[in-house]
Symmetry: C2
Subunit: 225 residues, 2 copies
DNA sequence: TAGCAACTTTCTGTATACACAGTGGGATTT
DNA sequence: AAATCCCACTGTGTATACAGAAAGTTGCTA
């Protein structure tokens, strides 16, 4: 049975989802009373939710009074990937040292099956993103490092926000699957250097793809400067 | 004029300092009413402070009801340094690429002066830690990467908590100054690889020193398991 | 005596009330 | 007509009241 989560948790998740999904675009002002009436709870849990969002960097204090949804520039995207590279290369190294072969053997088989999956229809895309999420979880788990996992989780929130802008095309998904497969196999071979370098390559391509996609598809959403 | 900070901010800083300084040792229960009477504010700002401490990982929900100060094992220390290595090597690389030569030239001169400083009395130690803090700030600033800075800041809280346990001896301080000097000079030379590798070396030695110091000086504070 | 159950107490989560500060608008004066 | 000052209002920060849940305690029963 799922623990009944608190109103503040629900408010946090709701607001975070709305920001990440760009329903609340950058610059949106978030007043406490406004949100409390909208979400049907009192100001107290809303305050707690907004405090967490501020800590996450999804929301920032405006000049003077009030909070606004933060914006994301292409420079921000590059900066995110600089951090992501550092953290995920280390995570891949640690997973190669400590990973459970059984878990990653299953993932290997799944990534091998992706090309067939991508020939199918749209639900396949959800399946693929679900697979990547399971891969991330497996790596997180394999690192056995709560500090690393915390840092990665925090960063991933922002990365998901970018991904919602920069829809991947099928060609990119196919290439990404091959890159993931290389990482998984390196982990299975306990080859830490290869796992790290394959992660580097993957992230380099992922960033290129994201930047290209964002710059062509939705330049209007990004800050004009 | 300094902005009058809110009661919740003061409560957060106070509690965080007490945890980092081991005045509130691991396992200490933090009740809301208890802390609100102790700090002389109402439960509302205390709740906000405790929520932030929980997000920081300094406090965690106990089984059932209540929050307790988290403990730190020697494994945790190794894990922190795994993350620190990833983040600070990347930061050193970026600082080498983007750093302001004037700033780092000043730091170089200061690190060169450390050996003379360490011959003096106890206040010298404060000066040295202040210098290291300025070095960290300079690197943070040079990376021009808010996500990296956020991740590093979060981690440093835990590292300071470890440092409070593991007092550095003068020999270690002297060696650390030399290591810092190497990093600064690599940044000045715009040699990203050298800056990263010198950081790696520095952190490896710092971790060894911390683990040795903790294991000999205060094994009682760490979890028995 | 041991185990279980009901009650009491205490603490958390939420709502609301209150005080204060900052901002915008309007009116008055030059 | 423009600028400045004052007032009102909106919104944040803090305190407190209230409800519900969980842990401890006490008493009863087997």
């Amino acid at each position: 049975m799922a623990i009944t989560l608190r109103a503040s948790d629900r408010a946090y998740q709701r607001l975070r989802d709305e920001i990440v999904d760009w329903e609340l675009p950058p610059g949106s002002a978030l007043g406490e009373v406004e949100q409390s009436t909208r979400l049907g709870v009192s100001r107290t849990p809303i305050r707690e939710a907004l405090a967490r969002l501020t800590a996450d960097g999804l929301v920032a204090p405006q000049t003077g009074r009030g909070l606004v949804v933060t914006d994301i520039s292409t420079d921000n995207i590059r900066e995110m990937f600089e951090v992501r590279q550092a953290l995920e290369m280390q995570a891949a190294r640690l997973a190669a040292l400590r990973g459970d072969p059984v878990v990653f053997a299953v993932l290997e088989r799944e990534f091998l099956a992706v090309p067939a999956l991508l020939d199918q229809d749209d639900p396949a895309r959800h399946n693929y993103y679900g697979l990547v999420a399971r891969f991330d979880d497996a790596v997180d788990d394999a690192t056995a490092n709560p500090y690393l996992v915390t840092a990665l989780r925090s960063l991933r929130t922002h990365l998901v926000r970018v991904r919602r802008l920069a829809k991947d095309n099928p060609a990119r998904l196919s290439a990404a699957a091959a890159e993931h497969l290389t990482i998984v196999q390196a982990i299975l071979d306990r080859d830490a250097d290869l796992a790290a370098h394959a992660t580097h390559v993957h992230l380099h391509r992922a960033m290129r793809s994201a930047l290209d996609s964002v710059e062509t598809a939705s330049p209007s959403i990004l800050p004009s400067a």
